[in-house]
């Protein structure tokens, strides 16, 4: 991480608990760069997170007010913070299991209310912290601790979901696409309404090693191969999009 970003960190919280090859460190970096480039007052930001690896990105690493909440509930907590003090910038950072499974109800209702929150989903398609169980964004047929013969279920497209619910700004990038990711987080942080960024982040430890992608190298190659631009994807048929990661901005 660039030295000029150190001021946003708590030195006592390092080293991070993230595994080798985890994409969440890159996401942490991207979020701080967005904050820095926007010159946001770090004392007026509240970072809210749930339970899981993604939730540890802000808490305890960020030297701002952080609210590390119950599993699945960060958006509900964030709603209370933002409504009572609208001068605060409230940013939710949590994982796919936290935001889309146990917390799915809060996600869709906050999007519907279009309340001014930035929600960043650290989406590694797996329950990393609890040992690698299937999550609502695990690709179909992927192997996890609870789908040894392959995931029989279709994953959620969280971007289509939040767009349908009325979110003002919705995008998806992977941590491999770092420049557009930072720009998109900046847009989300300056959106006057509900903003959702789905960030696909590799988890070699719990996902990759069960799916023939044991290191970040294979996982990055996979992200590269599967990523397809939103504009390009529009012209394709449903079966041509199977297994693809649509990246870009979903609001039109």
């Amino acid at each position: 991480m660039s030295e000029h970003l150190y001021k946003y960190l708590r030195p006592e919280a390092f080293p991070t608990p993230f595994c080798a090859g985890c994409g969440h460190g890159i996401l942490m970096n991207a979020i701080l760069r967005a904050v820095d480039e926007l010159q946001l007052d770090f004392n007026k930001i509240v970072f809210v997170s749930g339970i899981g690896c993604g939730a540890w990105i802000p808490s305890p690493h960020f030297a701002a007010d952080t609210l590390h909440t119950l599993h699945g509930r960060p958006i509900a907590y964030a709603t209370g913070v933002k409504l009572f003090n609208p001068d605060l910038k409230v940013i939710v950072i949590s994982g796919d299991g936290d935001l889309a499974a146990i917390g799915g109800n809060h996600l869709i209702h906050a999007a519907r209310r279009n309340i001014e929150l930035t929600v960043i989903c650290a989406n590694n398609s797996i329950y990393g912290m609890t040992g690698g169980q299937v999550s609502p964004t695990t690709p179909k047929y992927a192997k996890t601790m609870t789908t040894a013969k392959g995931n029989p279920e279709e994953p959620f497209d969280l971007c289509k979901l939040t767009v349908a619910c009325g979110a003002r700004y919705v995008s998806r990038y992977t941590v491999y696409h770092i420049k557009p990711l930072i720009n998109s987080i900046k847009k989300a942080m300056t959106t006057k309404g509900f903003a959702f960024v789905d960030v696909v982040s590799p988890c070699p430890t719990q996902f990759g090693r069960r799916n023939k992608q044991p290191t970040l190298y294979e996982m990055f190659n996979d992200l590269k191969a599967r990523a397809i631009r939103y504009e390009t994807a529009k012209g394709l048929k449903k079966d041509e999009l199977t297994g693809k990661i649509i990246i870009g901005e979903f609001n039109e």
């Binding site: 590390h68 509930r73 709603t79 209370g80």
Partner: protein
């Protein structure tokens, strides 16, 4: 602790009002400026009333998507500096319990109104019960303390809601107002006094918002946006808020202090009222609407020349062990009428292990009536 005298929001006079609405007005008078809730019988009137009243005092009202969201958003608002409240009943309270534990762990002041109905599960939604007494005390996982308060009149739906906010702020603890459907829906007269006593949390800047030198202390609570760089977490944490998920000493110290800050201040927290207790041979110990029926019974017994008295618990948790011991010192039999299969009686029996303690339970989805308490107690009155 900074104590203030606030003007009541409604003009001081005698009112005729429903308990649930008096509760909402008490909250406003106490300084509640954030309410999050979800519709549930028999508590919804509090929410409906606040949906109109909070905007009038620059407060925030939100109807959340469920009770889990309600308690969580209330905790978020409390850290943003609000005096915050939610109101619910049985099924909703069950959903809130994880959040209740979070509020205890993060020492977040907040008030939960539980207008008790029958259960388990959906039970009889419109009918009164008092079956959540133990759940309020023990419902969340882990070991902890909360404060539980029981009003018996519309007057107390107002007064004790204010008291709940004061205790929440002073001890940085969730306070549960354990009302019941009868008191919630009862309409009767009550008086709003011109001034009320208000306690506010100590929100001074501190780098130790989760620890004190004393092992039963209440740390100051800075709020979001002050620059305190707060680390609020439901995981075990040290005095700075840093997660310590495998440190036995930190876990032990934290849980001990969370308990001690309530246990060691019991004499200041616990409030009871005694009626004709001093010379009583027969002591009734009760709470909420059951205590009102008990009150009618002791008057009837006194008319018959039987020395009966009533000790009414306004504070249920922490349990008023010492007060109960001293009130029951010279009596022959203790009766505990309540609208469940016998919950409070378990605590009374624990405290009065050398006395004859008789449970008078009722679970018919209606109030426990004086005649029922009278007939049952007469079996033991010689």
């Amino acid at each position: 602790m900074p104590k203030l005298i606030n003007k009541s929001l409604l003009p001081p006079k005698k009112y005729f009002m429903q308990g649930n609405i008096a509760c909402a007005e008490g909250a406003l008078a106490a300084g509640c400026r954030y309410y999050a809730g979800y519709p549930i019988t028999p508590s919804s009137e509090t929410m409906e009333h606040l949906s109109n009243r909070l905007p009038e005092v620059n407060g925030v009202f939100i109807q959340m998507e469920d009770e889990i969201g309600s308690i969580c958003s209330m905790i978020g608002a409390s850290w943003a500096g609000a005096k915050a409240m939610t109101a619910t009943s049985g099924p909703g309270f069950s959903l809130m319990l994880e959040g209740l534990g979070y509020a205890v762990m993060t020492e977040t002041p907040c008030v939960i109104i539980n207008v008790q109905r029958t259960g388990p599960a959906t039970g009889q939604a419109t009918r009164p019960g008092q079956g959540d007494i133990m759940q309020a005390r023990w419902g969340a996982h882990g070991d902890y303390r909360i404060i539980g308060i029981s009003p018996w009149s519309v007057q107390e739906m107002y007064d004790l809601t204010i008291e709940s906010f004061n205790l929440a702020e002073v001890y940085r603890v969730p306070v549960i107002l354990l009302a019941d459907e009868v008191v919630g829906h009862l309409k009767e007269s009550f008086i709003i006094k011109p001034e009320i006593e208000i306690f506010n949390r100590d929100s001074s800047m501190s780098d130790k918002p989760f620890g004190t030198v004393q092992d039963d202390g209440v740390p100051p609570m800075p709020i979001f946006g002050q620059g305190a760089k707060l680390l609020v977490t439901g995981s075990t944490h040290n005095e700075f808020g840093i997660r310590k998920v495998a440190d036995p000493v930190v876990q032990d110290m934290l849980v001990k202090r969370l308990c001690a800050k309530i246990d060691n201040h019991k004499d200041k927290i616990c409030k009871t009222e005694s009626y004709l207790v001093d010379d009583a041979d027969y002591l009734f110990i009760s709470f909420g609407i059951s205590a009102r029926s008990s009150y009618a019974v002791i008057k009837q017994l006194r008319n018959e020349g039987i020395k009966a008295g009533l000790l009414r618990l306004k504070t249920i948790w922490p349990f008023a062990d010492e007060i109960i011991k001293s009130a029951a010192q010279n009596c022959k039999v203790v009766f505990v009428p309540e609208m469940n299969r016998g919950q409070l009686v378990l605590e009374v029996q624990r405290v009065l292990c050398n006395k004859q303690v008789i449970s008078i339970p009722k679970t018919q989805g209606e109030a426990i009536y004086p005649s029922e308490i009278y007939n049952e107690s007469k079996k033991y009155i010689k």
